[in-house]
Symmetry: C2
Subunit: 244 residues, 2 copies
């Protein structure tokens, strides 16, 4: 098998950390997406090549589990590889290591390839080169699962702004993580740490659309979130804390 | 003279660009602050060394002028150097070049060193090593000047959230740039580009504080902003556009 697993180095910048000097889950999301981008590029099926063919990668699910969050100025290495490619979905795993090589966290993600014009998923078997880059090593954490609908209570509402949108005029995937991360008090972050953050993207949102964020805590320390546009879910998330 | 000018390379990531695929002024702010951090570190007076001595760098003024904004995936080199060190303020300049070495933008900044506990500025002459790192080459643009108070109209209001604060529980300097960048329509960004973005930080803001953003356009395409906390200015900015 032709293994295309590689690792990419990042340094946690001052703007990536929270009030405790630890990388935010949002900044980690950015690091993981950058690693995915670099790796897809290195393997010949990066966003730029897809764009040339009128296609784009869309992240549909992401799960992150951290033993610890890296600190300001810390260097981390993100290993990433494509575990499988089905007709419509590809699974990409991540392993995050500190400078000494110890694993500090893992992540798993699902992606679809869409046609930029129709916004519909395309058959991944038509994507040249990706099959030879599969490394069927499973990720070290449970894959992103299914998150079911719930009612919940309204926690926040906002309009999609200029700084929220990407090159497709759609809300950047990482912004949803940021909005959810803002639902917890500083006291929660002081006493506990995020053990698992899982997010499913259901529908795209556009500039100036009004969104509402609902949440519930069915079990102590285990939160569910849903972001809705006109009462329809656009993403769901689960955040599980553990004592710090 | 002992010249300590150095350059640092960055690649514009998908999350750094706006709907037109150009780096946002916010992302450029992050790149400049990272370059300043790296350079101060390389010269022995980085944030970590200051923190050990109970001090911290605080950005007080920043002016950015761009001929063009770098594109998604573009690599830029940021040259940065300390131009002068007065008793309370040091001036750091930046020159942003593309891969071919052509200048695409410049920036100038003023910094003070504060005592972390008292939050008061400290005499920069007490900071060992900085004097030998001065390269008195002036920046290529007008230094950040004085921005005067005005009344203006209320454009936005928000509370400082978890994702807005840094390791000092204060609002991250770059967030103010982001809030201001969100005051323009997509149509403005389509028809015009930011020529000069200038911001002065007056007072720090803390988690959960309520802020209001006021603005006016005294001359066409030349905007003034003021962010206020309980009617007192915490920062002022000026954004001048030119036809794209």
């Amino acid at each position: 098998m032709h293994t295309q697993k590689r690792s990419y180095q990042f340094q946690v910048q001052p703007q990536d950390v929270d009030f405790q000097g630890r990388s935010t889950v949002t900044a980690l999301g950015n690091i993981l997406l950058s690693a995915a981008n670099f790796n897809a590029d290195d393997n010949g099926f990066g966003m730029r090549r897809l764009n040339e063919a009128g296609c784009a990668w869309v992240l549909t699910k992401l799960a992150i589990e951290m033993h610890r969050f890296p600190l300001q100025y810390e260097e981390v290495r993100v290993e990433t590889w494509v575990e499988s490619v089905d007709r419509l979905t590809t699974t990409r795993n991540f392993c995050i290591r500190d400078k000494e090589g110890a694993i500090i966290g893992n992540a798993g993600s699902h992606w679809v390839m869409i046609d930029i014009n129709t916004r519909r998923p395309k058959d991944l078997h038509t994507l040249e080169g990706i099959q030879s880059c599969i490394d069927d090593e499973p990720g070290l954490i449970e894959k992103p699962g299914r998150l079911v609908a719930f009612t919940g209570v309204l926690l926040d509402s906002f309009r999609v702004k200029y700084s929220d949108i990407d090159i497709n005029v759609h809300t950047n995937s990482v912004r949803y993580i940021e909005w959810i991360s803002n639902c917890f008090s500083l006291d929660t972050y002081r006493r506990q740490k995020i053990k698992r953050f899982e997010i499913h993207y259901i529908a795209e949102t556009l500039f100036d659309e009004q969104l509402e964020l609902f949440g519930e805590e069915p079990t102590v320390g285990d939160f569910r979130f849903e972001i809705r546009k006109q009462d329809k879910a656009v993403c769901r998330a689960r955040v599980a804390f553990e004592n710090a």
